[in-house]
């Protein structure tokens, strides 16, 4: 049985749909990431699940109970806010046990939970401090600890790492994922950062303009994007897209990921272009190439690339790595594409 099930969920603000009839499920103990660009309706979806917004239509099941019209406290959820929403006048310890206290949990139980949660999140040295005496990362932990302390089966997180620096974010990704797995929590996690989605999720629900673009395991989205939107959104740098030869009257977009492209002699590639820029990352270099017909290509080369800006290069890849999309609808074309009749590459 799924832990959370959303059916036909819709929310309109002044006639504009922020969430437009979406369906998805989160399995028990799964970490499901709601991914999408800013303004696509991720937070609204999460707030609908939390009960902070009234749905215009649709049903929200937690377990097998439709909670769509229950108050937030009866939905068996906890939530971590983007701003952390810590109570500024309470100490870290008081913040963590706030919910337990309000729900009338016995004092001994509260103390025991506090000790356990503080140990898990590494907050023991800070329990007597106020939130304004903590760093951003520590505040984040307090918000996390407060969510865990309630021992609700479902935890909602709205961009919890967006206020942290890159290094801390990478650490917290691992830590949240480890905690979630250790405690067997079902987690619905909102982010616009596809790296967070790829690294943490069991399932990714990719949203665009209030609708679900594609959902599945991270590898599914990466390896078999169902639409042009998914292809461009998942992966960094984004998939290279270029118009391919038309087959049977359908304009077709072909796509290939930067790591599948090789730089070869100008005469040996499927496309020819000029090197426009080099971005050295250490482990690899992303080479920007202006290809024919004004198509911008990114090529990921291992190590330090030996290309020079302005140099003419050929772009080569295996046909197996090519993705094809209907240029009109943006949908993936499954039938194997035969129109790519360029010369095969001699590596």
């Amino acid at each position: 049985m799924s832990a959370v099930r959303i059916e036909g969920l819709t929310k309109t603000f002044d006639g504009r749909a922020a969430v437009d009839g979406i369906d998805f499920e989160v399995g028990s103990g799964e970490l499901c990431v709601l991914l999408g660009p800013s303004g696509c309706g991720k937070s609204t979806t999460l707030r609908l699940v939390a009960g902070l917004e009234e749905p215009t239509a649709g049903r929200i099941f937690v377990g097998d109970v439709d909670v769509a019209h229950l108050p937030p406290k009866d939905r068996r959820i906890s939530m971590v806010f983007q701003s952390y929403a810590l109570f500024p006048h309470l100490t870290v310890a008081q913040n963590i046990v706030f919910g337990l206290e309000v729900r009338g949990v016995a004092k001994a139980v509260r103390a025991e939970r506090l000790a356990r949660v503080a140990a898990m999140t590494g907050l023991e040295p800070y329990l007597a401090r106020k939130p304004n005496q903590l760093s951003g990362g520590q505040r984040q932990r307090v918000a996390l600890a407060r969510a865990i302390a309630g021992e609700q089966p479902i935890c909602l997180m709205d961009e919890p790492l967006s206020n942290l620096d890159a290094k801390l974010r990478a650490e917290m990704r691992l830590e949240i994922r480890a905690l979630q797995q250790r405690l067997g929590m079902t987690m619905l996690y909102v982010t616009h950062d596809q790296i967070e989605a790829m690294t943490m999720a069991d399932r990714v629900v990719l949203m665009n303009e209030g609708r679900i673009e594609q959902q599945g395991a991270p590898a599914d989205l990466y390896e078999r994007p169902a639409t042009v939107f998914t292809a461009r959104f998942v992966g960094s740098p984004a998939m290279n897209l270029f118009p391919a030869a038309e087959g049977a009257g359908h304009p077709v977009l072909a796509g290939v990921r930067p790591e599948h492209v090789r730089l070869v002699e100008p005469t040996a590639g499927r496309l020819v272009g000029r090197v426009a820029g080099l971005e050295y990352h250490g482990a690899d270099t992303v080479v920007a190439v202006d290809a024919e017909e004004g198509v911008a290509f990114a090529v990921r080369c291992p190590g330090r690339a030996r290309a020079a800006i302005g140099e003419r290069v050929g772009l080569a890849w295996d046909l197996a790595h090519e993705h094809h999309f209907d240029a009109a609808t943006g949908r993936r074309r499954e039938a194997h594409f035969t129109a790519s009749q360029r010369e095969p590459v001699t590596a």
């Binding site: 939390a50 009960g51 902070l52 108050p71 937030p72 406290k73 959820i77 906890s78 939530m79 806010f81 701003s83 929403a85 109570f87 500024p88 006048h89 706030f98 919910g99 309000v102 729900r103 106020k130 304004n132 407060r146 309630g150």
Partner: protein
């Protein structure tokens, strides 16, 4: 290691007098300050010191000049039954109006901070009494209280109640003038509460709701503690106002009937400008200042420890 100099700290090292040094720039600085120093000294500091000195001297009468009398003025004051009456009245006045005005202010602020239709108009309406001069307010209430024709008696008349002279009866007069003060002050304090409420991030309420807190619990555990600095500020102001605002006494009762509405500052006016008893008036002024200063001090010391400042 030297710690970096912060902008909000004076440079460390040798103490320097402000404007110490020589040259034209120092002179210019003092000249620029001169007008405000003169005004402050002439209208605040000098009168204050004069009053303090006068409180130890007798009132000059005819050819008998003022002379030092030690604490006699306070002894006389202590033997003045009207002083005690005014002090009692003023204490009752403060104890009655402050909690009511502050409580009403908070209730109104919470109400107009919610999502209700026409809240801008409501905020305006609640704030209006603050904008009116106390004299005008007193006149409005004078009409409300008029026996037979006033608002209260007309409404009471509908229910068959007899005409009452609330301002003329010593047992109700003080309460009647207190009502005016509450009506006038509450809107003013509401603005401070409203501003403070709008500083509280809405996601605190949402987080609390998810954690299971009811509206009342949220108010008790979060809103009220976060409002504490404002409450302290309002209380200090309310106390000062309770001893300072007597305009409506002039308009409505003249301190009567039988001193039932005589307050300290009104008594001070009577002593100083009706009876020209400078010595007694000075002594009473010092009493008033000491009372206000100590109340404010107690409030800060007592509450300062418990108040959370952001």
């Amino acid at each position: 290691m030297r710690s970096p100099t912060r902008l909000d700290e004076p440079p460390r090292g040798r103490f320097r007098w402000p404007f110490a040094g020589s040259g034209r720039r120092t002179v210019e600085a003092w000249l620029l300050l001169l007008p405000s120093i003169v005004l402050f000294a002439a209208f605040t500091h000098v009168p204050f010191l004069r009053t303090f000195v006068d409180a130890f001297h007798s009132t000059p009468k005819g050819r008998r000049p003022s002379h030092f009398v030690g604490l006699d003025n306070w002894v006389d004051l202590a033997h003045d039954p009207i002083f005690w009456k005014a002090l009692t009245n003023n204490t009752l006045y403060a104890l009655g109006t402050i909690p009511l005005a502050v409580g009403l202010a908070l209730a109104m602020a919470l109400f107009v901070n919610g999502r209700i239709p026409g809240r801008a108009a409501l905020r305006m309406a609640y704030f209006t009494p603050t904008v009116l001069p106390m004299i005008a307010v007193a006149n409005i209430w004078l009409f409300f209280y008029t026996p037979d024709y006033g608002l209260f008696d007309q409404i009471g008349g509908l229910f068959g109640l007899a005409a009452t002279n609330r301002l003329g009866d010593p047992s109700t007069a003080l309460i009647a003038v207190m009502a005016v003060a509450v009506w006038k002050e509450a809107g003013f304090f509401m603005i401070f509460y409203l501003a403070a409420l709008q500083q509280i991030p809405p996601d605190l309420r949402e987080a609390a709701a998810i954690e299971g807190a009811s509206r009342f619990t949220f108010f008790r555990r979060v809103t009220w503690p976060l409002l504490a600095p404002v409450t302290l500020f309002i209380l200090v102001n309310a106390v000062i106002n309770a001893f300072r605002t007597v305009d409506h006494i002039f308009m409505m009762t003249g301190g009567g009937p039988d001193n039932a509405t005589n307050l300290l500052l009104f008594r001070l006016y009577e002593l100083g400008f009706k009876f020209w008893d400078q010595a007694q008036a000075s002594a009473l002024t010092v009493v008033l200042i000491v009372v206000l200063a100590s109340v404010a001090l107690v409030q800060f010391v007592f509450a300062g420890r418990k108040v959370h400042y952001r």
